[in-house]
Symmetry: C2
Subunit: 152 residues, 2 copies
């Protein structure tokens, strides 16, 4: 019981910012820890998740089922390599470039994913309400901000 309480306190402290929650999200993803990963989401029934190329999943049950499937074979080596932020006192929109390393039959492969992660500040700390992921490319690292200044 004491352990449980101290764990909850530690967890709340960890989610003192959207960055903390995001770091915990990718840690849980890498560790294949679905319980931990789901604890980082808001309690709102309208939370949503779109995996690359997948449908829209709405609500905790559908999102949990999807991560259980994704993590069925163990951890996923996914690392946020670039993050941009729009933040206020109560919400945060993060634009993340994820690097995903996988061992394929033909050898190790690296893929990139563009994720939009949205967080809100709740009583228990910052929680995720949206994870929308799209297939990306290695050259996303350069992004299109610079490209725009060429066009204009």
């Amino acid at each position: 019981m004491g352990d449980f309480r101290s764990r909850k306190v530690a967890q709340a402290a960890l989610m003192a910012s959207a960055d903390d929650t995001e770091a915990a999200f990718y840690d849980a993803f890498q560790a294949g820890d679905v319980d931990r990963l789901m604890s980082l989401w808001s309690d709102d029934d309208e939370i949503a998740c779109i995996h690359p190329g997948g449908p829209r999943l709405v609500g905790p049950a559908a999102i949990r089922a999807s991560f259980e499937a994704v993590l069925a074979n163990g951890s996923v080596r996914v690392v946020p390599v670039q993050v941009r932020r729009i933040e206020s006192a109560s919400f945060a929109v993060h634009h993340v470039l994820e690097k995903v390393d996988a061992d394929m039959p033909e050898g190790p492969r690296t893929a990139y994913v563009l994720a939009s992660n949205v967080y809100v500040r709740a009583a228990q700390g910052w929680r995720m309400v949206l994870h929308h992921a799209t297939p990306g490319q290695a050259d996303e690292l350069q992004e299109m901000v610079e490209a725009a200044s060429v066009l204009h």
Copy 2:
């Protein structure tokens, strides 16, 4: 000058909710009106837009250039057919299913797009900060909420 002012007042009144801003966004999209469409975005330099299968575009210049390209051949018949919302006093996350009708060489075609639209409340009313769009499917109408209750 009077006209300009009354137009600005009317526009601010129109953006009194995230729903108003979203309706104006799809109206501008359908009308092929890039100026109107861009006026609905926040002034934040970190606003971002991902078109289906496209890269991440960050900032007003890159986003404007992309809509000019998308709308170069005139309007796009895009209609939001299903919207789910997470809203607070200062921000709103909308999950939208878009129906897009296009005239292709082989005849009329309909496509579906899953969009995550995020809005923030600014002094001038509700403004868009994120439009992340992903190819969807007609059966997205059923979504995966129901599917989850089967799985659990």
